[in-house]
Symmetry: C2
Subunit: 120 residues, 2 copies
DNA sequence: CACTCAAGCAACCTTCGGTTGCGTGTAGCG
DNA sequence: CGCTACACGCAACCGAAGGTTGCTTGAGTG
């Protein structure tokens, strides 16, 4: 019962540079390719490409202001991305806890009855 | 104040195929490159490469069983990966809620006093 | 012993993240 | 009004990553 995941959205937030860009946009409330690139270890063009990706998946809007292009987060889409993170995390966490408990149970049983072994 | 993130670990779970593989390993408790590839839209070799990546970042162990190579999750490392998901998700979620509240506050103020507008 | 089936290379292709370089248009100033 | 400066967009190029096909090897089984 894997949660339904938008792979495009997931990939968009999967890239470390894009993750940092989202961080910055979230903190600053908006920015241009040039302004973002000032605080990132990549060039303006790389940032522009990433902004294009983010725009394609609907995570940011572009608004031309004079000769600049101001990008802002789309709150709704961003919230959906965050929700996917939580969903996957929670799902994995739950299953991990289940199998951990099972493993512990098996361990206890073997401790109590070492003669029994499973040969597959 | 971005949470400290292990980019290698993050990238490992960032790939959609690897995410599904982790899903399957978590559900089945283990598997081989061949067995995993049966339920994935990629070839055995692609799966094998991904298993190599997952192994390098410590998310899986490899155990040779006869002529097969059985991979299992490393619970501890996997738990760390899940923790990173939660961390980033929670951090973004918190900030998103903050700015949402601010936006609502501004909205309320403008509703109450339409004469005041901020021209930036 | 011969056969089968899973692994493990190796070569190749395509996409993606990133860079450099160039042309263009708009804002601002003498 | 014209010039400079700056930000943008486009194109070419590069290396690494995800993926494929093809082949070899080697452990199990009849």
């Amino acid at each position: 019962m894997t949660a339904v995941i938008d792979d495009d959205l997931w990939s968009a937030i999967g890239d470390p540079t894009r993750r940092r860009m989202l961080d910055m946009l979230l903190a600053a409330g908006g920015g241009t390719a040039t302004s973002l690139s000032h605080e990132l270890p990549v060039t303006r063009q790389a940032v522009a490409k990433h902004l294009g990706v983010l725009h394609r998946v609907g995570l940011v809007h572009a608004a031309p202001i004079g000769r600049e292009m101001c990008y802002r987060l789309d709150d709704a889409q961003f919230a959906r991305a965050v929700a996917q993170l939580s969903t996957v995390g929670a799902s994995w966490d739950a299953r991990l806890q289940r199998i951990t408990q099972i493993a512990e149970a098996i361990q206890r049983r073997q401790d109590a009855d070492p003669g029994r072994q499973n040969k597959t």
